[in-house]
Symmetry: C2
Subunit: 264 residues, 2 copies
């Protein structure tokens, strides 16, 4: 029996309660089309869509939005030449594109976190999950050792750190994506008695400045900032295995992207 | 005649129209106290406040908030030990602290931008100012040359770049602080016919991903991300000269901070 795009979307949404408002939508494509192959990616860049096409798939599942915004960029005109060329390629390719953000984050534990833990081989270190942070236990790894582990496992050129890199860490909080905001993150140091917090992205003048002050006061606190994509692509890679196990006859690929920034 | 804190605040607010709602407030101190000396800083970290005290000043003017948030962190308990120790030091020191953010950004041109242009020695390259972006003209400097100039003049270890670093730039858009959001920044490339945009901080999956797609489409576009503090401290340094010229008998200092992040 043939599998439609609609069947895949239903399977992807089924593990969590219905989300009334949100960003997960089929941006392009006909839900009744038969799926010939699936690709997943952190972000459907123009390059990723071209590579998906060359793999022969007709459904691309992207975590972040197609047009450079979480909610859809109202100011960005359809006359923008970059947008127009990308839209034209998508339409001519016949690629269906599904934004898959809110549902995967609502998995218990968060599906993006599950992928990150698997990539880091830290499943054995998990003490507990909450909806936005996972608490990990370590046997006195230093901040520097944790940073090296993150760089090696995620193939990251560098990470940004606040604190004493020789400090041993026992209790660590891990957050994916743009969850580094001070209102959520700063209270975790006390509430969860954390030595180190690791997140994807957050405002530079919030949590990092708190940790700077804590370190000045000789408190043993540290922060590692991974990068947004670096913290979330493992979740979209992990999704490949999940889809493959549900639909074993459909080819499923993960498409990786280079880091968005060069360092100069 | 003696100058009070209130006199200084009035002089700082006077150049712009009254701001009804905003974050600029005297967080600590008595407006009727006589000013013995003034220090300015990008952020009133605990370390900065200690150094201000040792300089013998009794008024510290900070651009970003004291407690790790733009609007004031509602979730951050007064029981937090970092907050408590910082508050205790401020109270015992008798330091008056004034948050000076909205008014200086409302100067025409933006006072923070004026300081950045002065530090970069780019006043001669300005074509025009708008309320949030300054357009500069160059004689075919490459992205790499622009990046090196920024690093040298601002004493930055590294910048983050999207695009071809050998690309020559003629028209450049410069934005300070957290103004890198895609809704505001992306349309500037077309509207102002820009080769390169330079900003302090912004979401990683918005403007950088637009430039990634533009470059994939062989368009000559580039982006340099400076860092939030790196784009704004020159404005607070510049403020020293302005205050000094208005109040020549009061000692006025700029207090610099180390970069909040180490790179590992």
């Amino acid at each position: 029996m043939s599998t439609t795009i609609s069947d895949i979307l239903q399977a992807l949404k089924e593990p969590v309660d219905r989300i009334e408002a949100g960003v997960d939508v089929l941006c392009y494509g006909d839900p009744n089309d038969i799926v010939t192959g699936i690709a997943t990616a952190f972000v459907a860049s123009h390059d990723v869509i071209v590579r998906a096409k060359s793999l022969g798939v007709n459904l691309l599942i992207t975590h972040e939005g197609l047009f450079y915004s979480h909610f859809g960029n109202k100011q960005l005109s359809a006359e923008d030449p970059v947008v127009r060329e990308k839209q034209k390629f998508i339409e001519e390719s016949g690629m269906a594109i599904f934004r898959y953000h809110d549902h995967i984050h609502k998995y218990q534990p968060d599906g993006i976190m599950t992928g990150l833990l698997q990539e880091l081989e830290w499943n054995g270190n998990v003490e507990k999950h909450t909806s936005f942070v996972t608490i990990l236990n370590f046997d006195n790894m230093t901040v520097h050792e944790v940073a090296n582990h993150l760089k090696n496992k995620l193939n990251i050129q560098q990470v940004r750190v606040v604190g004493d890199t020789s400090m041993p860490c026992r209790r660590v909080g891990l957050l994916v994506g743009y969850r580094g905001g001070g209102e959520q993150v700063i209270p975790l140091y006390e509430r969860e008695n954390l030595d180190l917090i690791i997140y994807g992205e957050g405002p530079e003048w919030e949590t990092p400045e708190y940790v700077r002050d804590a370190v000045f006061q000789k408190r043993k606190k540290a922060l590692i900032v991974l990068g947004h994509a670096e913290s979330e692509w493992p979740g979209m890679k992990y999704l490949v295995n999940w889809i493959q196990s549900e639909f074993p006859s459909i080819p499923v690929h993960f498409i990786s992207e280079k880091p968005v920034f060069q360092i100069l």
